[in-house]
């Protein structure tokens, strides 16, 4: 090795090191940008109303208090009673939406993955296309439909409308999973005498459990976070889900910021925990269809 080659090699190594360090610094800044709002949400939720209204703000509350959280989960108070009610409504609506979406989507996704029937491309196109349209396009007619069916102010209206986005998404995600299960497995089962439905039920279904879990989490979180339909269809307090319900803490003049932050924090816990525990499935579901291995 000549001296020149050596110094070129060293420069290259330094170059690579430089890239790595700039990557680290970038990640650090990004981490700050990402978590700061959430930390501030938490810190604010520990303040009294008086402590929150200070400028410059107390970066850490002088007298941290869990009072705001107690208020939310205390069923004897007004705030607590409503909050618990919203929480249950959210869980109920999200769970039912998820079950319905997955049960209906599983056979459809399987058919789209495996069968080639006339109209299949058109129908799949229609399913995918739905994901492109905003809730607002459907809002006016669905609102009128719900009014006609007498479903305004009921959870039925939410569950039904949540299927407008839950179902296409579930079909697409599940199809991604079925596409990656080798057809040969079913063919072997067919040779061994299974019917096509048996092959689906006994061979493919068990293998697609991770996909079903992932799709379920996905549609649960989607329903949990949904706002626009709930905001439009529900006016009665006892029916509201969390994203709409927490509005009660907010008003232009006298917003209870610590209370609002405590409520948003509580609202975020279930989805964040669900996501952290089942992260692997979640990430896989999302990328399965988009990345061809």
């Amino acid at each position: 090795m000549t001296a020149m080659e050596m110094s070129a090699g060293a420069a290259k190594r330094r170059g690579a090191g430089g890239w790595r360090w700039s990557g680290r610094i970038f990640l650090l800044l990004l981490l700050g940008f990402t978590v700061m709002p959430m930390i501030w949400m938490f810190i604010t939720s520990l303040k009294t109303g008086f402590a929150a209204m200070q400028y410059p703000p107390q970066w850490w509350p002088a007298e941290p208090t869990l009072e705001n959280y107690w208020r939310l989960i205390d069923p004897s108070g007004n705030v607590g009673r409503d909050f618990i009610q919203y929480f249950w409504n959210s869980i109920w609506v999200s769970t039912l939406t998820t079950i319905l979406a997955v049960v209906v989507a599983v056979p459809a996704a399987y058919a789209f993955s495996r069968f080639r029937f006339p109209g299949r491309n058109f129908l799949f196109f229609a399913v995918l296309l739905r994901n492109m349209f905003p809730a607002v396009v459907f809002l006016v007619p669905l609102f009128i439909l719900m009014k006609a069916l007498g479903l305004v102010n009921t959870h039925g209206s939410l569950i039904l409308t949540y299927l407008t986005f839950g179902l296409p998404l579930a079909i697409w995600l599940l199809k991604g999973f079925y596409d990656n299960i080798p057809v040969q497995l079913e063919q072997a089962a067919r040779i061994d005498g299974a019917t096509r439905f048996q092959a689906f039920l006994l061979i493919v279904m068990p293998l697609s459990t991770p996909g079903i879990i992932a799709t379920s989490i996905y549609s649960f979180i989607g329903a949990w976070n949904e706002y626009i339909y709930a905001y439009t269809f529900l006016t009665r307090h006892d029916q509201m889900t969390l994203p709409v319900g927490i509005q009660r803490f907010f008003s232009e003049n006298a917003t209870d910021w610590p209370g609002l932050m405590a409520a948003t924090f509580m609202m975020s816990i279930p989805v964040v925990v669900l996501f952290l525990v089942l992260q692997r499935y979640f990430v896989r579901a999302l990328t399965e269809g988009a990345v061809k291995h």
């Binding site: 981490l31 410059p56 669905l142 439909l145 979180i221 609202m267 999302l286 990328t287």
Partner: protein, 319 residues
């Protein structure tokens, strides 16, 4: 496998030659049983609303929901929209919102994906933390950022004051010049991690051997990225950009909760505008016409979207 492309579609049909459409439909009648429940639900909650929106867009509607009193007025609603200056203002803001949010989210996501690609201690934890904004509801995000931006007690103003960049709190959100950009920051915060996971998955498909070969041949890190990694990411980048663009075009929650489209319409985008027209001013017909225009614009995007998503789809068939 060497099949003629068109043939793959008919693989389940016993006689591939010269069968009529009705015969084909009959032969695959059991296939339809699998999709039937999904189709019925979709017909009710998707097909019907689309039909009804199109119908309403040609009518002059009463403010109440007594829609039997509606009157046909041809293309009047469309003319009203296209000749109103508000339409063009909102459209321009929607373009700004969509393009800026999409580009920034994508670039930050790409940077994060590249930086996270190499294994290092704490990588999993870091990835999980970066993903949280995307999981948290947009409602929560909107309220938190509203509080961060608060004109009197906002943490952002306070921080900028403390490091000496400004001397009195800035009103980010209630300012016609800054409101849209302040909201774009929130939106990018919310969704850059989506681009990040998509691209991280894409990076895993880049063959290691190619990268190593390039390294042996003396390619610099930048050359390796540009000539090896980037071409492999093109497919997933397209999908990610499209999904982000669609999602941003359809945004509602962040602008609605944070500003309601204000002040003075400075952060109004299409969706918030339509919502305001329909449920604020009860102009159902005009709002429906807006939705139809939006629908048509989305169809164009949709063509590319579906093509990107179904690429290679026909390679798999029949068990």
């Amino acid at each position: 496998m060497s099949t003629v492309p068109g043939q793959a579609i008919f693989r389940d049909v016993p006689e591939p030659r010269r069968v009529g459409l009705s015969q084909k439909v009959w032969n695959s009648r059991f296939d339809y049983l699998y999709v039937a429940p999904a189709l019925i639900v979709m017909l009710i909650v998707i097909g019907y609303p689309i039909y009804y929106t199109i119908e309403l867009s040609f009518f002059n509607t009463p403010a109440s929901l007594a829609l039997s009193a509606k009157q046909f007025n041809g293309l009047d609603n469309y003319v009203t929209i296209l000749t109103s200056p508000v339409f063009w203002k909102v459209t321009w803001q929607t373009v700004l919102w969509t393009v800026l949010s999409t580009c920034f989210a994508f670039m930050i996501g790409l940077g994060a994906a590249l930086a996270l690609h190499r294994e290092f201690a704490g990588r999993g934890v870091l990835r999980a933390l970066l993903l949280i904004p995307w999981v948290v509801s947009a409602v929560a995000a909107s309220y938190v950022w509203k509080w961060l931006y608060h004109s009197d007690f906002g943490a952002i103003s306070a921080m900028l004051t403390q490091v000496g960049l400004i001397d009195k709190p800035i009103n980010f959100v209630d300012n016609t010049n800054t409101s849209l950009y302040a909201l774009i920051v929130v939106n990018v915060w919310k969704e850059f991690s989506f681009a990040m996971i998509m691209l991280m998955a894409g990076l895993q498909t880049v063959p290691d051997t190619l990268l190593r070969a390039a390294q042996v041949d003396g390619a610099s890190p930048w050359q390796r990225f540009w000539h090896v990694t980037f071409p492999h990411l093109q497919g997933v980048s397209m999908v990610t950009l499209l999904l982000l663009a669609v999602q941003n075009f359809n945004s509602f929650i962040i602008p609605w909760i944070m500003t309601g489209g204000g002040p003075a319409g400075s952060s109004d985008i299409w969706i918030t505008h339509i919502y305001q027209l329909a449920f604020g001013r009860q102009r159902w017909g005009v709002a429906s016409a807006y939705a139809v225009i939006l629908f048509l614009v989305m169809m164009v995007l949709g063509y590319f979207y579906v093509r990107a998503l179904t690429k290679g789809d026909d390679a798999r068939a029949g068990a």
